[in-house]
Amino acid sequence: MPPSGPAPLLPPDVRHRLRGLKLRARRAAGAASGIHASRNRGAGLEFAQHRAYEPGDEPRMVDWKLYARSDRLFVREAERESPLTLWILLDASGSMGQADAARPDWTRLDAARALAAGLVEMALAGGDRFGWVALAGDQPHLLSPGAGGRHRDRLSLEMATVKAAGGFPPPPRWAPLWDRIGAHDLVVLLSDVFDPNSVDLAGRLAAAGREVMAIRLLTVEERDFPFQGGHRFRDPETGDELPGDGVLLRADFLRRFGEARARIGAELDARGVRHVEYVLDEPLDAPLRRLFGGKA
């Protein structure tokens, strides 16, 4: 079912490459039932189906009552309830509206939406529940977790209305998150993580027992600083402006920004947040593959 909205959030090729990926939480991965995956059939509460007995099935799985009625051996299978709830924390502060001059219609927020759509697809494939929070303005917008295609559509509709404006919400505005995001939930933060508050939020959620991951979105201009000649640079959140010559600023900026990236990464590591960087010219599935692919 294609996602509703003017344009599909997720290009078909990316959707195809995401097919093999599964949401994987460290804590869930350590559970006895093995890899968390969709529709594991096995011991559980929800009845899924009967199937014919095969040699090797545990005798306790055989539905003896049915055997009594039909004189044939059936195995009772149940659907295991997913223990995983995915929370997508979408940073919608002003800095997320930044795009590269080379591709002005591909802002950080657009990339974050597409990544969120990818995460939702993965959650759908695994039968997991998912909700999202838009971190902007006075009150974080919040959609309670749900499952299924209708919930995915509602989420993408809501996401389409988000505009990048304002700053990252300060700690007093985080109260709803504590109420709603349960322990052992999987939280993915989509943000540039420039704001110390965003690092703090991820760190606190991780400290409170949530599985927190962060995808740090960078623009190509931040990575390469390709400016030539004089420009006026403006911080979209504070409105501060700085005139300068691109060539002169370049070396110093790349050094300081590289240090800052390393420092933020180290801090996230130290606070137990897994994180990857995503630059806007990379394929969309790359960060998800780095987070969820491979053998964890």
């Binding site: 800095s95 400016f227 420009h231 403006r234 700085l242 600023l249 920004f257």
Partner: protein, 387 residues
Amino acid sequence: MSAALLAPLGLAALAALLPLLLIHLARRDIQRPIDFAALRWLTPRPKPHRRPRLDERALLAARLVLLTLLALALARPVVLDERGARTWLVVAPGVDPAAARAQAPNAARRLWLTPGFPELAGQTPGEGAPISSLLRELDAALPRGARLTVAVPAVLDGVDAERPRLSRAVDWRVLPGATPAPAPHAAPAIAPTLVIRSAPGFEAGARYLRAAAAAWSPSPSAAAPAVAPLSEPLPDTAKAIAWLAPGPLPAEVRDRLARGAVVLLPAEASIEGLGPATPLWRDAQGRLLVEGGSQGRGRWRRFTRPLASETMPELLQSDFPTRLVGLLADPPPKPARVQARDFHPLIGGRAGSPSAQDVTPLLALIVAALFALERWIATRRQRAPSP
């Protein structure tokens, strides 16, 4: 081949290049600021490096070339054609061509010094020609730096009264021979046949003229010219016409004048439109009796006083017919023969400018093509919005 500008002030239009450059200077002041969230890691520099930067170099270059060519077109460029042989030999008529041929190296171009400058290989031109004028013409037409050898006969005819002044040194070779004599001039001082036309009231004056004309006749028996009224048609052969009538000349007489007749006019006639008048005859007291001028190929003479013995006693003098013949006769030919060795041209004449070719049409074509190119660049789809 070299180029020159006929109107160098047109290059002042090059000043238009300056506003063009200003238009294309990047207008950084109205540039949109760049959103940059990582601003906090940008180190402010105390003095931003400002180097003039130009937008859309290709368009600017096309416009610069276009304007430059337009300014050049305003300056009216010409290309001077200075091709041609380096040595020239011209031979005046009257020289043996075979003897003249040896006067210059083989590479030289050899021409006759006659109108049109035919090749020496052609047959000998018969008619003599104005040598001085032809020399000046050739000197002006030759490319700068060309060496000129002139072979002339010992006696030159048809020259000016002055040694020609040329822009270059001339190798002046005098060979035996003489310029063929031009057609013989008409025998001088043959008295013309006077045709007298008289308006009413001028008959008395006409009598003096008739008497003078009768006096020219070689034999007394010859009939004196008749005095006829103005309405009488003029004979076709009339060379001398006495038109004794007041006011301006009628068209018929003007036509005769233009074709070479001599017209004698009374004091009452108007000489308006006949050109400047020169005094021709003064009496013993120095008072003007006859003035005259030329018009077309003909000449006119006008008495300044009424033709009566009271006002002009010279009419009664015995030398009046002789005077009248002198007034009417053709001027004697100017002396035009000279010893060629005395006629070596002088140096110091103005150099003639070689034939110049106007390149403005070519320039206009290039400008049109460039304009099309400029429009194409300026209206491309991938163009930035500014200038």
